[in-house]
């Protein structure tokens, strides 16, 4: 990024150079994969380890690396060194603004119409609900990571707190979803503050690792506190949500009977779809409003430079805590929704991979851009669905995509910063220019 435009590296490396590089890559791949791919071990029937060789796979992988190396080098030659421009050109900025003006409402209208279009396709509706859940989680985490710049690797902890709050309150005390939803949010926010307090002084990587540890602690406690949470077996029989007290059941007091229409199980799915859509839009609306308030501006200032923030008299303690609490609250809402949709929750749903997925959505979305996060969630979850058949390769591909994405566009798909406050006109700049604070 900081390299000057006149790099002394040759613009067009010769064939010999490319071949040499490819041979080296292939040799490295051969050593790396020789034992891991070439030999397959498995515990045999008697517990004794057995192994068999897979030299065919090994050879083809090394071949792929060889060819891939040549292709990458040729592509690099063809594209030339990537230039970075500091200021987003006005044309592009206008284009983005126009797109932002039209894409977001179009997307919203489409989302509203999804249950109408796909009414008979249960799979599409379920996928829509899943995508919206991640959109909501992404928007919630965006408050913490995107706006306040606090790298949180344990966001799934709040999701878990929300889910278990609803599940336990509903199954033990029979409270309804609409009573539990705010409670789940409040409880998650409390946990957010509890996490926030100890990590106030930490920054960057330390913060990341502590939040990760916190997420793991919550999961381990859920697994081991069997008398409360049911341990690895989870909580089942979580009540389904009602339309403010009217159940969506085929019974006489059900919604279908009240409206005088024929009952269909799809009603509940459609209801869930609009429920999570409303929750996600609430998150979005609150975030957009908060950004214009002093607290939101303080978050963004904190992201850019913490020392300057303190020098200007911003109370970094309350700023950080409020960011954690707000983000956690939305995570809690999403968790409560998750519990009521699934009807069954177990600690397996709240692993670190989930945190990493949500974080990847936020980063891919450009950290701070609401539309970007929504698009990123759509891409990620949609992409995950494409790999559903290849279940065991899913996380492998996810990891590779994450690495490639960081190398290709570390700032995400929509990587520009538009000022929230401006004098005459807003001049967006590329986020490469932004010197992030310590966070």
């Amino acid at each position: 990024m900081t390299a000057p435009a006149t790099t002394q590296a040759p613009r067009s490396p010769g064939i010999a150079f490319i071949m040499k590089k490819a041979f080296i890559s292939a040799a490295v791949a051969l050593v790396l994969f020789s034992l891991m791919i070439g030999i397959r071990t498995e515990a045999g029937p008697t517990g004794q380890l057995i192994y068999w060789t897979r030299f065919g796979e090994l050879a083809s992988l090394v071949g792929i690396v060889f060819v891939g190396s040549i292709v990458i080098e040729l592509l690099r030659r063809w594209l030339g060194p990537a230039g970075t421009s500091g200021i987003v050109p006005p044309a592009l900025q206008n284009g983005l603004a126009t797109a932002g003006r039209f894409v977001a409402p179009a997307l919203l209208v489409f989302t509203l119409l999804v249950p109408v279009i796909f009414y008979n396709q249960r799979y599409m509706l379920d996928l829509g609900i899943l995508v919206l859940t991640y959109v909501m989680l992404g928007w919630g985490l965006n408050v913490v990571v995107g706006l306040a710049g606090l790298l949180d690797l344990g966001y799934v902890a709040f999701y878990a707190v929300g889910a278990y709050s609803y599940a336990l309150l509903a199954t033990s005390f029979g409270l309804s979803f609409w009573v539990c939803l705010p409670l789940a949010g409040i409880l998650a926010a409390c946990w957010g503050v509890m996490l926030g307090f100890p990590v106030l002084r930490l920054r960057g990587d330390y913060l990341a690792i502590v939040t990760l540890a916190f997420g793991e602690i919550i999961r381990l406690v859920i697994i081991n506190w069997q008398s409360l949470t049911g341990g690895p077996n989870g909580v089942s029989g979580i009540p389904r949500p009602t339309l403010f007290g009217i159940p969506l059941t085929p019974g006489d007091d059900g919604l279908a009977a009240l409206l005088g229409i024929k009952f269909s199980p799809t009603h509940r799915i459609v209801f869930l779809f609009y429920l999570i859509l409303a929750l996600a839009l609430l998150t979005n609306w609150v975030t957009i409003r908060l950004r214009r308030l002093p607290i939101g501006r303080a978050w963004e200032a904190l992201r850019e430079d913490e020392v300057a923030c303190r020098a200007l008299g911003i109370n970094t303690t309350t700023t950080k805590l409020s960011a954690f609490a707000t983000g956690a609250m939305f995570g809690g809402f999403a968790g409560a929704f998750f519990a009521t949709r699934q009807g069954f929750i177990s600690p397996e749903s709240f692993t670190f991979q989930e945190s990493a997925l949500v974080l990847a959505i936020v980063v891919l979305g450009g950290m701070g851009s609401q539309l970007g996060v929504a698009l990123a969630a759509l891409t990620m979850i949609g992409g995950f669905e494409l790999f559903r058949g290849l279940d065991q390769y899913r996380m492998l591909v996810f990891g590779i995509v994450m690495v490639l994405l960081m190398i290709w566009r570390p700032r995400g798909l929509i990587g520009h910063r538009a000022p929230t406050v401006y004098l005459k006109r807003a001049q967006a700049i590329s986020s490469d220019l932004v010197k992030e604070g310590h966070g």
């Binding site: 990024m1 900081t2 390299a3 490295v28 790396l32 034992l35 891991m36 791919i37 030999i39 397959r40 071990t41 498995e42 515990a43 004794q48 380890l49 192994y51 790298l151 100890p198 002084r201 930490l202 960057g204 990587d205 330390y206 990341a208 690792i209 502590v210 990760l212 540890a213 793991e216 602690i217 381990l220 406690v221 697994i223 081991n224 020392v307 670190f352 991979q353 990493a356 974080l359 990847a360 980063v363 065991q392 390769y393 996380m395 492998l396 996810f398 990891g399 590779i400 994450m402 690495v403 994405l405 960081m406 190398i407 570390p410 986020s431 490469d432 932004v434 992030e436 310590h438 966070g439």
Partner: protein, 305 residues
């Protein structure tokens, strides 16, 4: 008292393994200033390489245990070091001057890649090995029939750790490479101006860290007799805790922290509850960072404006 002594031995052995991994974290953090999130998975890869090469050697008819161990050690160190080098080359070097979160996220991605790669390549099931080093010594026979034992595996683990640490200390303090590493840690630009190849030095840091992690992986295999693709995650966080506890950036601190974490975990399992031993280790991380952010032997971080 006997029980205590036995747990002390177990804790020290476990601590040596954590310490070996922690050195990789602390070295990389000292020079590049990032948490190498994939380091725990490098440790796991080291365990797998050791397992596979061990299996191959035995099936080739080699029977001399010390010779097998030596070959396995060298092979797993070499191959795993290449993994460390590749990871740095692919995932970290392009991002060296990028913004802060980028290498971190790239490292998380790499961690997924490594653990799922070995799941795909070697299957998800736990791989058990029969005990390779057997036997041991009875140190003390208690009155209630409780015996304090020091097994040969434990001796091997601790001895290997000590030898490697001596070698490593010599490397850092007496060789050209070690001097380059220390120079890069202090000021990369200045080191480059004075003719230090910064890229190469950083690569070598990852290589050495990965080689030590491979040793830890092999020791884990010898000691517990199993490897699985997911073991890198928890071990990685614990080793990182050890590095932070000892003061990140400080090499003796990493070893000290590793021993401390090993002891705490063992005593916690012995006297409180086995289920919550990971919670205890993670809580220590949080507590240390709150009350002692610089760790036991670390230098305070000075904030430059």
């Amino acid at each position: 008292m006997d029980y205590f002594a036995q747990q002390l031995i177990n804790g020290l052995v476990l601590g040596s393994i954590y310490g070996l991994i922690a050195i990789g974290y602390t070295m990389v953090y000292g020079i590049v200033g990032m948490i190498n999130f994939a380091h725990g998975d490098i440790f796991m890869i080291g365990g797998f390489i050791a397992l596979i090469s061990f299996l191959l050697l035995v099936s080739f008819g080699l029977t001399a245990v010390p010779l097998i161990l030596l070959i396995v050690l060298l092979v797993s160190m070499a191959v795993t070091a290449l993994y460390g080098w590749t990871v740095e080359r692919i995932a970290y070097r392009p991002l060296r001057h990028s913004f802060r979160l980028a290498p971190m996220l790239s490292a998380i991605g790499m961690s997924f890649v490594l653990s799922n790669f070995s799941q795909v390549a070697q299957g998800a099931r736990v791989k058990p090995v029969p005990p390779i080093i057997t036997g041991g010594y009875t140190l003390h026979e208690g009155s209630e029939g409780f015996v304090v034992q020091l097994s040969n595996v434990q001796i091997v683990v601790v001895l290997t750790t000590v030898v490697l640490l001596l070698l490593f200390t010599w490397l850092v303090s007496r060789t050209r490479l070690g001097r380059d590493m220390r120079a890069c840690e202090q000021d990369q630009t200045m080191a480059a101006l004075l003719g230090v190849d910064v890229d190469r030095t950083i690569s070598m840091t990852f290589v050495i860290g990965a080689a030590l992690a491979a040793v830890a992986g092999m020791m884990y295999l010898l000691y517990y007799g199993l490897v699985d693709f997911f073991m890198g995650f928890v071990a990685g966080i614990k080793a990182f805790t050890a590095a932070v506890l000892g003061g990140i950036g400080s090499l003796p601190g990493a070893m000290l922290g590793g021993l401390a974490i090993g002891l705490i975990e063992t005593f916690w399992s012995a006297y409180f509850s086995v289920e919550y031993k990971d919670v205890a280790a993670f809580s220590i991380l949080i507590v240390v960072l709150i009350f002692m952010p610089t760790g036991l032997l670390g230098r305070p971080e000075i904030e430059k404006v």
